[in-house]
């Protein structure tokens, strides 16, 4: 039997909560200011693609910050079942989200015309019909 581990190590310490809080706070504010700068510069300063990458990195970093400092995933004992279930859930989530986006954008391209996938903004149905007719060379 272990020599009565002090209960603080199991639920983190004051220090770990402060670290997690301050890191999350700064990651949130950085993400906010990146987008603010992007919008203020008329959607050019960090380009659209860069903003996407920066925001994804910041959000995933914050996910790990909170998992470690708030949920104490790193303090788990031996078989680490929590981490195993988390990893499985992560796989399901990635398949679900990435798969949906992939399949539906492909479907959109073939059904609703290329404007959907390339232009970004959706068109009203009449415009869609017209675009498909133009693209596919269908004579009225």
């Amino acid at each position: 039997m272990k020599p009565a581990p002090d209960k603080d190590t199991k639920s983190g310490t004051l220090h770990s909560y402060w670290t997690g809080y301050l890191l999350s706070l700064s990651l949130t504010l950085v993400a906010f200011s990146v987008v603010k700068h992007h919008v203020d510069s008329g959607h050019v300063s960090p380009s659209d693609n860069y903003v996407l990458v920066i925001l994804a990195v910041l959000a995933i970093t914050q996910l790990f910050v909170q998992l470690v400092f708030f949920l104490h995933l790193d303090r788990e004992s031996k078989p680490r079942w929590n981490a195993v279930v988390l990893a499985f859930a992560a796989v399901v989530v990635v398949i679900l989200v990435a798969g949906s986006i992939w399949i539906i954008s492909n479907l959109n391209y073939h059904h609703a015309g290329p404007g959907h996938t390339h232009g970004g903004h959706a068109l009203i149905p009449q415009q869609n019909d017209q675009q498909i007719i133009n693209d596919e060379g269908i004579s009225p």
């Binding site: 949130t28 906010f32 603010k36 925001l55 910041l58 909170q66 949920l71």
Partner: protein, 195 residues
């Protein structure tokens, strides 16, 4: 450590693991809503897009409030493990008020959108928006009710091992909702305004 105590701790760790598994399946539920939103985010059907609807400073305030409530919830659990009953009640009270403020801001945003004619029936984008953010809001509501119940339990029965276990699960739930919100903040609001 007595055998009874060891058996109790073993049962407790199983309960906490079960709750963790629930949280992970809940994240799959949210993933479905995120996938729906990602697919429909440009399907505005000629209506307004996120860029015109969302106010970033307002959402940043919501985010900071929820993050702070997650932090105070963590401090409350720390005090609970040290057996400081009054501090636990005080900190969970603070967490509760911050959660309530968050919910109030969210409902304000929802009613504002609805009365401007941008309700969930306006477009596929708005349906997906209300489903995703609304489901998170429902979770927050459930968490607040749970928190109120636990505060009265702690007030009447004190920090018993049973209450401590339930407080630990509540804090897991609350931190989990904060993590979900980070992704809503990023995917729905920041990306909605940025592109």
């Amino acid at each position: 450590m007595s055998r009874v105590e060891t058996a109790r701790q073993e049962a407790e760790s199983k309960t906490l693991f079960g709750f963790w598994v629930y949280l992970m399946t809940d994240s799959v539920l949210f993933a479905s809503f995120f996938a729906t939103f990602a697919v429909l985010r440009n399907s505005t059907y000629g209506g307004p897009s996120g860029e015109t609807l969302f106010s970033l400073p307002f959402v940043l305030a919501e985010t900071l409030i929820l993050l702070t409530s997650s932090f105070s919830c963590g401090l409350a659990i720390l005090s609970a493990r040290q057996g400081q009953k009054n501090r636990v009640l005080w900190l969970f009270g603070l967490t509760f008020l911050l959660g309530l403020a968050f919910l109030g801001l969210e409902l304000h945003e929802f009613s504002h959108l609805y009365y401007e004619g941008n309700g969930w029936r306006r477009s596929g984008f708005l349906s997906a928006f209300f489903s995703l953010v609304g489901t998170h809001g429902l979770h927050i509501t459930a968490g607040l009710i749970w928190m109120a119940v636990m505060m009265s339990k702690v007030r009447s029965a004190g920090l018993t091992p049973f209450n401590l276990k339930r407080l630990t699960m509540l804090s897991l739930f609350w931190h989990f909702l904060d993590i979900i919100w980070i992704f809503i903040f990023t995917v729905v609001y920041l990306l909605g305004v940025a592109s």
